[in-house]
């Protein structure tokens, strides 16, 4: 089992958000997590990535045999966990290329892999950018600064393609995308699938799931998974809504 979440309880700013969440993801599986606003979907994504603001009051998370909650965010990344942000942060003065070069090499170093030279990295980056239909200027631009909503999400999936994680958590990657941008993003997601990596797609709508077909769909309500089904569940939710 790649990811196992047991009885997870999480508080943020004193407010209980997750109330005993259980979820397991095996190699090669695509899971979709759906639910109404405020159900705790993004909280789960942040907790998995290691955001320091979230307080784990009970439960466990195991990833590739390691206790995830004991690891720093950067250690989780090096271990093969990637989270695509719902709202990617803009950072002035640091070029996208410099950032990705440092980040990828930091991960490789931590894993004991050979560090890429700038030339090797640039080749890899160009290849992945072509995949995401991104213009070369995005290399030299500051991280996400002045990017449109769609460009930011593309930049997230570009990072996923570059880091080649074992488990990718996509937090509302489809929100704010028009249909063309969504196709590119979904195409990028599908191209990075290796058969042995897992995907947790957090989404509000089933739109993205038409392109990235889930093996399981979970419904999260008030911090707990209340229902699990196959991909047909997403269609049912789309038609009937989350209300029982």
């Amino acid at each position: 089992m790649m990811l196992q979440i047991k009885n997870l309880h999480v508080k943020v700013n004193g407010k209980q958000i997750l109330n005993g969440l259980n979820l397991s993801v095996n190699k090669g599986e695509v899971h979709a997590l759906m639910g109404p606003n405020g159900a705790g979907k993004s909280t789960l994504a942040k907790v998995l990535a290691g955001h320091p603001l979230y307080e784990i009051t009970d439960g466990e998370i195991w990833f590739k045999g390691q206790n995830l909650l004991e690891l720093q965010p950067e250690e989780r990344a090096a271990l093969g966990l990637f989270m695509s942000f719902q709202y990617p942060v803009e950072i002035a003065g640091v070029s996208n290329q410099q950032f990705l070069f440092l980040a990828l090499n930091a991960q490789r170093k931590k894993r004991g892999e050979a560090v890429l030279s700038e030339a090797e990295f640039e080749r890899l980056l160009s290849e992945k950018m072509a995949l995401m239909d991104m213009r070369a200027e995005f290399k030299s631009r500051a991280i996400n600064e002045g990017f449109s909503g769609g460009e930011k999400k593309r930049n997230e999936i570009l990072q996923m393609a570059l880091f080649n994680p074992d488990l990718a958590v996509l937090d509302e990657t489809d929100s704010g995308l028009d249909i063309d941008a969504m196709r590119v993003v979904a195409g990028g997601v599908n191209k990075m699938r290796r058969g042995d990596n897992g995907l947790l797609v957090i989404t509000h709508y089933q739109r993205l799931l038409e392109y990235v077909k889930p093996d399981f769909v979970h419904v999260l309500v008030e911090g707990k998974i209340v229902r699990t089904g196959g991909s047909e569940l997403a269609l049912e939710l789309e038609a009937k809504g989350y209300a029982e």
Partner: protein
């Protein structure tokens, strides 16, 4: 006194403080540069590029006396304590760049003791001339550069003064001033710029990287007197330890200065809980058709930014370093002096912890 200065001068030759001297085969004098010893201009140690007129201010009084007295009389009543003290105690240099000349000049300050020096450069950049000026002063000084920019001229000044440095400048039609002051603490930088004639423009920037208990002050007064002029100020300071910074800046737009564009921005990055940044931006506008703005920020590294970088694999300290670099980068990239830029990069890495 004379011998001591010479000894110190020769000592510096191999020390790298003065890059022109460190190159093999360099003469006892720099490739080109004005030398001040303890604040006094030393023409016999200086090398002036071809085409420039340079002499001690005392000497210039005989041929340029009317011009100089005019300038001092005009400025003195309004000037501050620092520039007045400098004028009283200085034995400065007078430099005149004749029309349509391009030149680069380095100002080298040598200190033989711990006494306060009062170096002064009285500068006129002639019509359509361009002067690149670099000044590094690591000693205790109350220095002044007073620059008159004639029509169509351009002055680029890069200054790294460790103590007090005041720049005063007057700009005639189509002239352009670009000044950048850098500091690692202990300094007081003041810039008073008067845009006297149409279509002149001034860019005043300062970058401070402070650590320990160091302090830095920046004072600006940009006075728009003629219409259709532009000015921009960008003051950035990164602070660690218990360091303190102070910025007090004013844009003054006179009633005649219509179509002025004037901007002022002060950004401070606090890297410790004990550093303090004070900022006092001011706008005084007496014309009605003006584009002007001022802004000031005092911020710490943002948790969300740090988390974003860490979630991509960077350690906490690497993330801090990248964000601090991101803050300083735009001004460090403007430091076109390798030795000085290297010092600032090292200071930047040291505060990013």
């Amino acid at each position: 006194m004379q011998n001591k200065a010479h000894e110190r001068f020769l000592e510096l030759k191999g020390s790298g403080v003065w890059p022109e001297l460190a190159t093999p085969g360099a003469a006892a004098k720099p490739a080109s540069g004005l030398v001040f010893v303890d604040g006094f201009f030393r023409p016999e140690l200086s090398v002036v590029p071809d085409g420039l007129v340079c002499m001690p201010v005392e000497k210039a009084l005989s041929s340029y006396g009317v011009f100089l007295h005019n300038r001092w009389n005009k400025q003195l009543p309004e000037t501050d304590l620092y520039t007045a003290a400098n004028l009283a105690f200085s034995r400065g240099a007078f430099v005149y760049v004749p029309p349509s000349v391009r030149a680069s000049l380095r100002i080298v300050h040598v200190h033989t003791g711990a006494n306060l020096a009062s170096p002064r450069l009285q500068l006129t950049v002639g019509k359509n001339s361009v002067l690149n000026l670099v000044q590094v002063d690591n000693g205790l000084s109350n220095g002044v550069i007073d620059a008159a920019l004639e029509a169509g001229s351009r002055l680029e000044l890069l200054d790294s003064s460790a103590t007090t440095f005041s720049l005063t400048a007057t700009l005639k039609q189509d002239s352009e001033l670009k000044a950048l002051h850098t500091t690692r603490g202990g300094s007081r930088f003041s810039a008073k710029v008067q845009l006297l004639e149409e279509n002149s423009s001034a860019l005043v920037r300062a970058l401070g990287i402070l650590d320990g208990n160091s302090t830095a002050e920046v004072h600006t007064l940009i006075e728009h007197i003629a219409p259709h002029c532009r000015s921009r100020q960008h003051i950035k300071t990164a602070l660690h330890g218990t360091s303190r910074s102070r910025f007090e800046g004013k844009i003054l737009v006179r009633p005649e200065a219509q179509k002025t564009e004037a901007y002022q921005l002060n950004n401070n990055l606090l890297l410790s809980d004990t550093a303090i940044a004070r900022t006092q931006p001011n706008l005084e506008i007496f014309a009605d058709d003006v584009k002007a703005s001022h802004g000031a920020t005092v911020a710490q590294l943002q948790d969300e930014e740090l988390f974003y970088l860490r979630s991509r694999g960077l350690k906490s300290e690497e993330a801090k370093r990248l964000l601090t670099e991101g803050f300083c980068r735009e001004l460090i990239d403007e430091v076109h002096d390798d030795a000085l830029r290297q010092q600032l990069v090292e200071a930047m890495h040291a505060v990013a912890r």
